[in-house]
């Protein structure tokens, strides 16, 4: 039997790697990939708590399905924004996109 804490530590590790990627990556697409890692870590937590709580109550899995829809919307809008910025400014480096920087 696998203890619940193992799943939580795995999800925490994936989330923290995603945090590092968001903070350190230069490319906007690299940042988007790190955000996908963080969303995946959150879904692992939802499924693990569903399994170790009351498995007959499927709210954890229903929540995970909705998070999948959110992740798909996130990826499509994010890539559309990056392609639009690339077309106008010929860069995908997050530091160079400073039009709104105060």
């Amino acid at each position: 039997m696998i203890p619940l804490s193992w799943y939580l530590i795995l999800a925490g590790a994936l989330f923290c790697i995603g945090v590092y990627g968001v903070l350190a990556r230069k490319s906007a697409i690299g940042i988007l990939m790190s955000i996908e890692l963080m969303v995946n870590a959150a879904i692992i937590n939802l499924v693990a708590f569903w399994r170790y709580g009351d498995p007959n109550n499927v709210s954890g899995q229903a929540f995970a399905v909705i998070v999948y829809a959110v992740a798909a919307a996130l990826a499509s809008v994010g890539l559309a924004l990056i392609i639009s910025i690339y077309r106008r400014r010929s860069t995908v480096v997050a530091e160079d996109i400073n039009l709104l920087k105060w």
């Binding site: 530590i9 499927v58 399905v65």
Partner: protein, 170 residues
């Protein structure tokens, strides 16, 4: 150590190592391919958690759709990043590394402090039926489910509107 635990450790180590490669490797195409490895390892953890439906959705939706979309995005913008000189990380990467290590240490400490419940031995054969019913049951999750679908279609139309070539690019 049972076989399940050894399998989980292998999958978990594969997921963490490939996730580290996703955020550190220089070539973005390679990073996207390592992201596929991570997502597949997460799908295997879903199988270990008896959530076969979500494992399928993970493979079909994440690997089949989102990872491919990201690879398309890299290829459409690769001219700048492939010939890029200098490192792939910004100047304050060490601050991000410090912050994420601190965050991980805190999360691990809190998780190990708690006394978690052990695995319940319930019959899981009807879970998928129940999930399907609950997503269309007015007393349960039909409203969030429909809202999620409306949000998805709004986001997709918005993505088309944003990425549509404007007058200035013609």
């Amino acid at each position: 150590m049972t076989a399940m635990q050894i399998l989980f450790l292998g999958v978990g180590i594969a997921a963490v190592l490939s996730a580290m490669l996703v955020v550190t490797v220089r070539n973005l195409i390679h990073a996207a391919l390592w992201l596929v490895v991570t997502l597949f390892s997460v799908a295997i953890t879903f199988v270990l958690l008896d959530a076969g439906f979500l494992a399928t959705v993970q493979v079909v939706l994440y690997i089949g759709a989102i990872a491919i979309l990201i690879i398309f995005g890299i290829m459409l913008t690769r001219r700048v990043m492939m010939s890029d000189v200098g490192p792939q990380v910004n100047a304050s990467w060490w601050l991000g590394a410090l912050l994420s290590i601190l965050l991980f240490a805190t999360v691990t400490w809190v998780v190990l402090q708690m006394d978690w419940p052990s695995l319940p031995t319930t019959d899981l054969s009807m879970t998928l039926n129940e999930l399907g019913h609950s997503l269309v049951d007015p007393d349960k999750y039909v409203l969030p489910f429909e809202l999620a679908s409306i949000m998805l279609i709004v986001a997709l139309i918005g993505a088309i509107a944003i990425a549509w070539p404007g007058k200035e690019s013609q």
